[in-house]
């Protein structure tokens, strides 16, 4: 009997993490991590991000590796949708080869750049090589200062193509090269912004795989990270309410039954106290569950009544405005986000409760408690009212 009990302990040690892992998992049985092959030839692989959402990773086919040799090639490349451009960027770059200079200038967002190009266009002179170089250097400065986006830069370079002498093929080729570079930067920017969604280890493997490939220019083949259709996150509470039978449910029920039998056997054979056995399993389970909560925004409220009042107010404002507060958003940033969506009296109340909360929370000051209570009541009562938005 003792051997059975020992075998059970061993089994339980293996099964408990599996059960917990399955509960923690976004889609049962789906891999947590995918090791990327060294020489990627496939075009789509699947990887799950740190919140458990599965993402498909698209690698562009090698056909884009050839650098555009003319503005038409560049236009074709943009049109081909092989680059991860947003709809807005695509619209701004649409028909870039056929546009007139005034149309190109009108698509530039930076007022400073627009004015400069407009002035050059109005002067009706052809740009000399040195003038072109000084404009390019100015563009570089504007970019370094973050005043223009890569799309603005592409449009400006396209406008400059019309302003140089038609016979200056070398300058035109240079401008095309700069446009390709800017396009590449746009691609990298999008890629990096998507990378944030992955765990540091995954980011590293993605970057290493991508970057260790052939020279980056003109090979525009950074992976595009796009979410896959996915099933809802499986939670313990959902498991308990499951009505349909599934193999996963069977595994979980069997494991729970084994745990109970194990506990009874341990008690009978080794005379261990039940609380100590339970404590052991609770401890093991807790460490596994703790891992899950590490990267998620804690939704649990504190025991402090006044702190809860503020967070409930935030929930109320989320309902009223439809603007969800992100975990990385500060209290004042959220206040700013909703300020043009809240009715004036509510805005005053929310501003007041935010500042009162800050003082209560970060300065350990009790003098703002009354303010928190008053404004909380105002905000919570207002959920029922329909005229939440500012009346114009």
């Amino acid at each position: 009997m003792k051997y059975y009990a020992l075998l059970l302990i061993l089994l339980l040690s293996i099964l408990t993490p599996i059960v917990i892992g399955q509960i923690d998992r976004h889609t049962l049985g789906f891999p947590d991590k995918v090791k990327l092959p060294e020489n990627i030839t496939l075009h789509t692989i699947i990887i799950s991000d740190k919140s458990g959402v599965n993402k498909s990773l698209k690698i562009y086919p090698p056909s884009v590796e050839v650098a555009p040799e003319s503005i038409e090639d560049l236009e074709k490349l943009i049109k081909s949708q092989k680059l991860p451009l947003s709809t807005r960027d695509l619209n701004r770059l649409r028909d870039i080869g056929d546009l007139s200079i005034s149309e190109i200038i009108s698509r530039i967002e930076s007022e400073e750049l627009r004015n400069l190009l407009h002035k050059l266009y109005k002067s009706n002179t052809t740009l000399t090589r040195s003038e072109l170089e000084s404009i390019l250097s100015h563009l570089k400065t504007l970019k370094a200062q973050g005043k223009i986006t890569p799309v603005d830069e592409i449009l400006a370079l396209r406008a400059l193509m019309d302003l140089i002498s038609s016979g200056d093929k070398a300058a035109a080729q240079d401008l095309l090269g700069y446009m390709t570079l800017a396009l590449r930067e746009l691609e990298v920017e999008k890629f990096i912004s998507k990378l944030v969604e992955f765990t540091p280890t995954q980011q590293l493997s993605l970057l290493n795989t991508t970057i260790s490939e052939k020279p980056l220019l003109p090979g525009m083949r950074l992976p595009q990270l796009a979410p896959l259709p996915s099933s809802p996150h499986l939670k313990l509470s959902q498991l308990l309410t499951l009505t349909t039978f599934s193999p996963q449910l069977l595994v979980i029920i069997a494991s729970l039954a084994l745990i109970i039998v194990g506990v009874v056997l341990l008690y009978r054979e080794f005379h261990l106290s039940i609380p100590s056995i339970i404590t052991y399993f609770v401890y093991r389970t807790r460490t596994l569950l703790h891992r899950r909560s590490l990267f998620s925004d804690s939704t649990a409220l504190s025991n402090d009544l006044y702190l809860n009042m503020y967070w409930n107010s935030v929930k109320a404002v989320e309902i009223l405005t439809g603007v969800k507060r992100n975990a990385n958003t500060t209290h004042r940033e959220y206040l700013k986000q909703v300020s043009d969506k809240l009715r004036e009296d509510l805005l005053v109340a929310f501003t007041s409760i935010t500042k009162a909360y800050e003082e209560y929370r970060y300065a350990n000051s009790k003098r703002t408690v009354q303010l928190i209570i008053e404004n909380y009541e105002k905000l919570v009562k207002s959920i029922g009212t329909k005229t939440t938005h500012k009346s114009n």
Binding site: E111, Q203, L204, S302, W311, H331
Partner: protein, 317 residues
Amino acid sequence: MNGVSVSKIFSIIKKELIDREILIEKDLELKLIVSAILSRGHVLMEGVPGVAKTYTCKAVARLLGLDFKRVQMTPDLLPSDIIGYYIYDQRSGTFVLRKGPIFTNILLVDEVNRASPRTQSALLEAMQERQVTIEGEVFKLKEPFIVIATENPIEMEGVFPLPEAQVDRFLVKIITGYTTHQGLVKIAMRADEIEEAIENLKPTLNREDVLEEIKVARKVYVDNSIYDYVANIVEETRKHSAIRLGASPRAAIALVKMAKAWAYCEGRNYVIPDDVKAVAKYVLVHRVLVKPELEIQGVTSSRVVEEVLSKVPVPKP
């Protein structure tokens, strides 16, 4: 813990330089410099020539009644040219100390990356230790002692870029750029008036007031959750895949100090997450190094810091 009045230094600078438009569109730079002064830290300013870096420092020094000196760095400048040296006086027959420009309150070091590494390290050592050693004799520098060093981002030849360990000694790095079109018009219209106004600035505070303000800023309360937030930000810079070298513990200390000073400039005696976010970019940007392969693709440390800030959750509840 109640709110306190806004920092005297900042309110004077705001009134005299920002509101009177003596320094146009330099609000952020001035606030960062004041915060650095209140934190007893040094400032690294990066900007192309002609963006009022010297004027900004000079105006601040004048208003605060502090000594101000300027050193133009060149490759042949020796450490003794900055620190000072003993010279033989034939009349008295003794060696007399000639103190260098470092014996001041605000030292503007123009184009710090033009000096030889030897001179740079002598200066940076003095910045760290707040004392200099001349011929074996130790001299304490006057408090407050703030170095505002400038760097020209476009010069690549004949410069000696500061090593990472030395850049880390600057509390903040301010990237100052061109003004807007309207700002430029204002500057062009009022150039003479601005120059005269800076020359005529009268000290409104004195050295003791500044030291007192530094003491008040140091007492600004920081909740444990804010320390935790700062640690998370700093640690996250080390985990970021685009980073070769993340922020050091010194960066965390700097971030807390600057957040305290920023809160004081805002009229609070407690730090909120917004204060940390407001200064994080300027405190961390020169302390994190992007992998070279990503750097050539245009990934900047500034963007990485922004990403980190957009990722780290603010304290809750």
